[in-house]
């Protein structure tokens, strides 16, 4: 089985979010980048398939040379090889189009992408890949097992979960549950050393239309300070929630 894991290179959650150039660009100054958490759950599950079922795992990212440390980290965790599509990831469709091309040419059986990235929160790339390729697609996936060509998987739904059966080739929008937090791996020294010698192929992008563009960013208005209510005066809290906030 050939697995492709799509990796977004995103600011760490604790990063300060600022914008530059007249609020038209994300300010990368002092920002730490990580593998998008939803993608990391998928990557770790893919490594499980590699170790238990002999799958090969390729990681891919659409981005500039500055994203390579994130791909190297994925190699250090255990991916066999990496691909970087050398382009600025302008919008979800552009990225999906690039990834669809990689999948078509690479003949991947299972594609795992995070259901959403932490930066733009678009949540559209896995579905768009499936739409472009016409493949089977499962979003919000919390569990996946593969037996030959047959797949059993679980999808989170509002208020519960559903179990589905499908076949490869399959595109998954993954999330926590594919593996648990405790299963995530921190690269060890051996992993980091071997990652340096693994192949990182750079591909040039294919043409794709510009459907949407991010024209500006805004930060939310500063929040007013919390109103503290004394623990001896809970009636006041109920009064505030009823008359001021109007939520009860």
């Amino acid at each position: 089985m050939k697995i492709l894991v799509c990796i977004s290179h995103v600011p760490d959650t604790t990063s300060k979010i600022n914008f530059s150039n007249g609020d038209s660009e994300f300010d990368t100054n002092g920002v730490q980048y990580v593998i998008n958490p939803n993608d990391e759950f998928g990557l770790t599950r893919a490594i499980w398939f590699q170790e238990q079922q002999g799958a090969t795992v390729t990681v891919v990212n659409v981005g500039g040379p500055d994203t390579e440390p994130t791909l190297r980290k994925a190699l250090a965790i255990g991916a066999n090889e990496a691909i970087r599509v050398n382009a600025n990831p302008t919008d979800g469709f552009f990225v999906a189009k690039q990834l669809a091309e990689v999948i078509k040419n690479g003949g991947y059986d299972l594609v795992i992408a995070g259901k959403e990235s932490l930066d733009y929160n678009g949540g559209m790339v896995p579905g768009m890949i499936a739409g472009i390729l016409g493949s089977n697609f499962l979003n919000s996936c919390t569990s996946v097992t593969v037996d030959g060509n047959n797949v059993k998987a679980v999808r989170e739904i509002d208020g519960g979960k559903e179990t589905v059966s499908t076949t490869l080739p399959l595109i998954i929008g993954g999330q926590k549950g594919l593996v648990e937090e405790k299963d995530l791996r921190i690269p060890n020294m051996r992993g980091i050393m071997t990652a340096r010698t693994k192949a990182l192929t750079i591909l040039e992008p294919v043409d794709a239309p510009v459907n949407t563009k991010a024209v500006k960013f805004e930060k939310p208005a500063p929040k007013s300070a919390v109103k503290l209510v004394s623990a001896d005066n809970l009636d006041e809290l109920i009064n505030l929630l009823h008359n001021e906030a109007k939520v009860i």
């Binding site: 959650t13 604790t14 979010i17 958490p37 939803n38 979800g92 469709f93 999906a96 932490l118 930066d119 733009y120 929160n121 559209m124 790339v125 579905g127 768009m128 739409g131 016409g134 089977n136 697609f137 979003n139 919000s140 999808r155 989170e156 739904i157 509002d158 208020g159 519960g160 979960k161 559903e162 179990t163 589905v164 059966s165 499908t166 929008g173 926590k176 549950g177 937090e181 459907n211 949407t212 563009k213 991010a214 024209v215 960013f217 805004e218 930060k219 939310p220 929040k223 919390v226 109103k227 503290l228 209510v229 623990a231 809290l237 109920i238 505030l240 929630l241 906030a245 939520v247 009860i248």
Partner: protein, 322 residues
């Protein structure tokens, strides 16, 4: 030309998000000088949609669509959009609608903006504001395609009634077998409890509650308020509560009217997941807990004393106001 919405339903009834989406569509339609068409699947009485601004309903009745299948539903929405000559398709942000929306966008060659908050800032060029960076910023997105798909963030617009009636007509799209490559084998739903996705109020507990045996505090308060229960990540990692209750960045997102955090310090990952809730209340014995920085109302004190008292007082309040 009419705007198309997919009015989501469950067990034969419209979900609340369908009314919010209709209310939103009505306003967008006014600014574009057009009308609102809603697509419904396997619902017999659709008259309710008229109250929220829908002018016309395309009713699909088909046994093949009895269970939700993203590809088939996306295909039906695409055919409805083409039939109506729609330029703007509006979808909500439930798990199901998020699942199908990117398929719809690709099928219609449409530019897609998800997580949209508020009405379009302009219609020419077409610009919308959307949540980004885990609610730490907004991103203004311009859609340049002829057909546009918007995903409206949950609980971001509100439900507004308008006088009107919807004309219903049957719609029979063609549904091919290749729409069913993913088959649902079984569905497990928690019954008799408000789900986090549908709740107007969520009561959430953290490690400050000291152990799973104390969850009665959270559950009792939630029951009085008709709220869903949730928990922080450490609580689900420790196995005190099921993972399905974990809210935060890697758990479920919460966008309710009222979020009550009990014994939750407010780690940045937790806040990222709940920050689009409208009103946030924190109860914590540590006045330095970061949650106080993002909350609207706070009580510093012992949850084990405060929560039972608050529950009793709310019970009395509810009895008086019902």
């Amino acid at each position: 030309m009419s705007i198309l919405i997919y009015a989501e339903s469950a067990e034969g009834k419209f979900k609340k998000v369908a009314f919010e989406l209709a209310s939103y569509a009505k306003k967008v339609a006014e600014s574009l000088g057009t009308t609102v068409t809603a697509l419904t699947v396997n619902i017999s009485d659709v008259s309710e949609l008229g109250k929220y601004g829908v002018d016309k309903v395309l009713k699909v009745n088909n046994d093949k669509l009895a269970g939700f299948t993203a590809k088939a539903y996306a295909d039906v929405i695409k055919q409805a959009a083409e039939k109506e000559g729609t330029k703007v398709v509006l979808l909500s942000s439930t798990t199901d609608s998020i699942y199908l929306s990117s398929l719809v966008a690709v099928a219609l060659n449409a530019g897609f903006a998800s997580n949209v908050v508020g009405l379009p800032l302009s219609t020419s060029p077409f610009q919308v504001k959307r949540n980004a960076f885990s609610n730490k910023a907004f991103n203004i997105t311009q859609i340049d395609t002829d057909v546009k798909v918007l995903g409206l963030a949950k609980n971001s617009y509100g439900i507004f009634e308008s006088a009107g009636a919807a004309a219903a007509e049957d719609f029979n799209p063609s549904i091919g077998d290749n729409d069913f490559g993913v088959k649902v084998e079984s569905v497990e739903k928690v019954t008799g409890k408000v789900s986090i996705a549908d709740a107007d109020i969520v009561v959430s507990g953290g490690r400050g509650l000291k152990g799973p045996e104390n969850w009665g505090l959270v559950e009792n308060l939630a029951e009085v308020l008709g709220a869903a229960t949730a928990c922080s990540k450490p609580v689900s990692d420790l196995g005190w509560r099921p993972h399905s209750e974990h809210v935060g960045q890697t758990g479920k997102p919460v966008a309710t009217n009222l979020y009550i955090a009990i014994g939750i310090s407010g780690a940045i990952q937790h806040i990222a997941g709940i920050n689009s809730s409208k009103v946030k209340v924190v109860i914590n014995n540590d006045p330095e807990a970061p949650f106080f920085k993002v909350a609207d109302y706070g009580i510093v004190g012992d949850a084990f004393e405060i929560v039972p008292q608050l529950t009793e007082k709310l019970k009395a309040f509810k009895a008086q106001h019902s």
